[in-house]
């Protein structure tokens, strides 16, 4: 069984086999993303009550937390793909890492943006140099560094190897973001949800937030697979299967 599994992974580590598989999976994840977003926002705006302290401004949490989690999660997965590409020289792994970076960067930006718009009414400031905010900003810069280094080197294999180093080294920043609210005295509130404690919010609020986490997750998978397909076409353009695919499309 383990042997069979490893055969399947080897099979889909070939861009030629990955391309059609991704094409079949994209609509599934896209539909899931849309359905979950509709349900999550419905609960978030029409079922979840107004907060007694923060009023309706707290409703930003339904996108702020999912975006922040995705920005960290995508970074870890991206670094793992980059590492596998670096060590075992697997091309598909490199391509997955570069397909993930723009989406991760976008979620890091959204986390900062929605955080700023939530910070103003609750703390009185759009931005403070607090450990949580600063380390999330560094995450955004790591994504940007990864992407710019990759695009600065012409040879795709060398570009992937150089940018993989940034990705792998930068992983240390993710636990710093996560634990920053514990390690330092920050303005940012502590974790609202954690594996060891009962959640500190109303059930409808928590449900909406978790559904939005899954919605953003499904969205990320769909859009990353779409981008991975583009990267495959670009990097495999000399192969017969891509040239046949391109001519048959016309």
């Amino acid at each position: 069984m383990a042997f069979q599994n490893s055969i399947i992974w080897l099979y889909f580590s070939s861009p030629k086999n990955f391309y059609p598989l991704a094409g079949k999976l994209i609509p599934v994840f896209a539909v899931l993303a849309v359905v979950l977003t509709v349900i999550g926002l419905y609960i978030g705006f029409f079922v979840a009550p107004t907060d007694y302290q923060q009023g309706d401004s707290y409703r930003i949490i339904f996108i702020h937390v999912p975006a922040a989690w995705m920005s960290m999660f995508i970074y870890i997965v991206m670094a793992m793909y980059a590492f596998v590409g670096l060590v075992w020289n697997i091309k598909m792994s490199e391509m997955m890492a570069s397909a993930m970076a723009p989406t991760g960067a976008m979620f890091a930006f959204i986390a900062l943006w929605t955080g700023a718009l939530w910070g103003k009414p609750t703390w009185g400031a759009y931005w403070v140099w607090d450990a949580r905010l600063t380390s999330e900003l560094i995450l955004l810069f790591l994504y940007i560094g990864f992407m710019s280094l990759e695009s600065a080197i012409d040879d795709p294999r060398r570009a992937a190897r150089a940018s993989a180093l940034i990705a792998v080294v930068g992983v240390v920043n993710v636990p710093i973001i996560y634990f920053s609210v514990k390690w330092w005295n920050t303005l940012h509130q502590g974790a609202s949800v954690s594996p060891t404690m009962a959640p500190k919010m109303a059930a409808a609020m928590l449900n909406s937030m978790m559904i939005m986490v899954f919605a953003f997750w499904m969205y990320s998978i769909a859009v990353v697979l779409m981008r991975a397909r583009n990267i495959i076409l670009e990097r495999e353009k000399q192969t017969t299967w891509v040239q046949e695919l391109v001519t048959n499309k016309k």
Binding site: S57, V223, L233, E234, T247
Partner: protein
């Protein structure tokens, strides 16, 4: 009618709430549109490349 305007007022936090949701929605939509458009351009460029190569071969 007042229900709707009350909803959009977000208890006085309209700017912050809709500013967050609006920018998030725009970014996520633009990302998808860019990836789809990018695919179309790549396919067109590669098809042109293949056509040129086959002409050279002949």
């Amino acid at each position: 009618m007042s229900d709707i305007s009350e909803f959009f007022a977000m208890g006085g936090y309209a700017f912050y709430v809709w500013g967050s949701y609006g920018v998030t929605a725009v970014f996520m939509l633009i990302e998808v549109i860019l990836v789809i458009r990018n695919k179309r351009t790549i396919l067109q460029r590669l098809a042109r490349m293949v056509r040129m190569n086959t002409q050279v071969d002949k």
